[in-house]
Amino acid sequence: MLQKLESFFMPLAEKIGKNKYLIAVRDGFLLSMPLLIVGSFFLLIANFPIPGWTEFWGQFFGENWASYFAKPTDATFSIMAILAVVGIGYSFAEQMKVDRLFGAAISLVCWFLIMPYEILFEESVVSGIPLGWVGSKGIFVGIICAFLAVHVYAWVDSKGWVIKMPDGVPPTVEKSFAALIPAGMSVLVFFVINVIFAMTPYGNAFDFVFEILQTPLLALGNTLPAMVIAYIFLHFFWFFGVNGGSVVGAVFNPILQTLSAENLAAFQAGDAMPNIICQQFQDLFATFGGAGSTLSLLIAMLLFCKSKRIKELGKLAIIPGCFGINEPIIFGLPILLNPMMLIPFMLVPTINIIISYICMSIGLAPICTGVAIPWTMPVIISGFLSTGWQGAVLQALLLILGVFLYMPFIKMMDKQYLADETKGTDETEDEDDFSLDDLSFDDM
């Protein structure tokens, strides 16, 4: 059964994992990740989830103190599409084997080329770069632009239609001239695209992509079934040794990050957060301690297991586990290719997602603010920072529930290991003709 599933799903994982477009999107978004966390840090100081926080500090620093802290957020979150376009252009150029810096630059230029420089000001339209389009609303059109611009660039480059300089010209100057014709062709293509869209009822490509692609995709991603299915796949891939987060994230993360950015914009404006499913929902409420929510498993190992090796592994892995690192348990227990752990490994995150979703939809816990919290932030603290005390309590309860869901399965393994350990001291010793003492390196 497992072999059949493997032969069906692994080629799919391989296709996704090796797809150059998805790799470019995944790696491209990594550029913005640290910057969004830095921006979030300032926003969190201004809006710490304790009632009366802003007013309390307002007594000392003046009423507008929080607005200064909003500026780093404006410089990161509000322009996140620029970071995405540059990052994706750069990494896609790497995939297409052309100059990465020019790939990033041409993507940005082509994206700006088709962007309407129009801002509504006191009921009239004035010229300017609209913040809406350089923020979350412009991400999907940015992804498409980066792909198309670099494709055109790489195509012209591959045809050899480049200006060649004589020997002795410095390499930087040579590169710069070599980029001239490919960059010119990319700009020409986007010039035509811009003219074509101007003749449609949409008026520009940004409005078209936002309405036709981004809005429906976000609506699809912002559903419980989408999240559950994505996470079942993610854990299934991990079970076969494939980094599920990387495969599923390549498809799902751009949607989640855009949903987060919408939440953050609402949070900044003091409005209700629109999206339950978002990047923080995934990072902070689906799993605790890494894929499979293995922090619950570690607690179960420490509390209920008797075999030496499971207890030792539990002690050793609990501290990294608190910070979301679960390599020792994934490889060492192991969870990979271990049929006994497959069911809880997939079940616990699914239950976490369903319960968190229900709690947030009926208002028992607030929706994540979109503030980017690193996934390494320990459980309970991360829930508190992202949603307030209710989120911390929800995380704690889910963590405990996970312990009980993992318990019967790890106890089965424990029983088997305990039997092996006892057998190891009587039967196998004779069979192998050496004892554990023989395996001591002390006297060598």
Binding site: E6, A317, I325, G332, P334
Partner: protein, 174 residues
Amino acid sequence: MKIVMIFDQIQSGLGTKDDTMVPLTGKKEAVGPAVMMQPYLKETGGRVMACLCCGNGTYLADPDEVSRKLCAMVNKVKPDIVICGPAFNYADYAAMCARVADDINRTTEAKAFAAMSQENEETIAAYKDKVMIVKTPKKGGMGLNDSLKHICQVAKALADGDPGLEALKQNVCF
């Protein structure tokens, strides 16, 4: 077929990638990849009699001494086959696997081979003509199950002195 496996701290579940100074340790039970390989071990009639574990930092601090001790331990427990790995793309562990497999082949009666991913270019270039190195995916890469199967097939062919070993080597080794 009696097998000894040699692991780093991660594969043996004795530490994270930062716990590099885990000392040389021996375990009688199958741990980490030895557990993952169980179905294929059954198919090939193999049994992991011990897992020897060493932190990457412990190895790098004195490769000669660590290799000498591992060879001495192999001489003591007398397995048919020693599997060094799978090291995936952990560079230091891969270097240890190749070096130790080579030393075991030269100084003990056991037959040893290594297993790692193609990312360990330097180690593969330096050792592929001296020891068999079975291809594995990198950590989180495609084809883990297949590579574990290949490791067991190579172990079996090596232990039996199977004439098909050379053909198998062409298919599954660097």
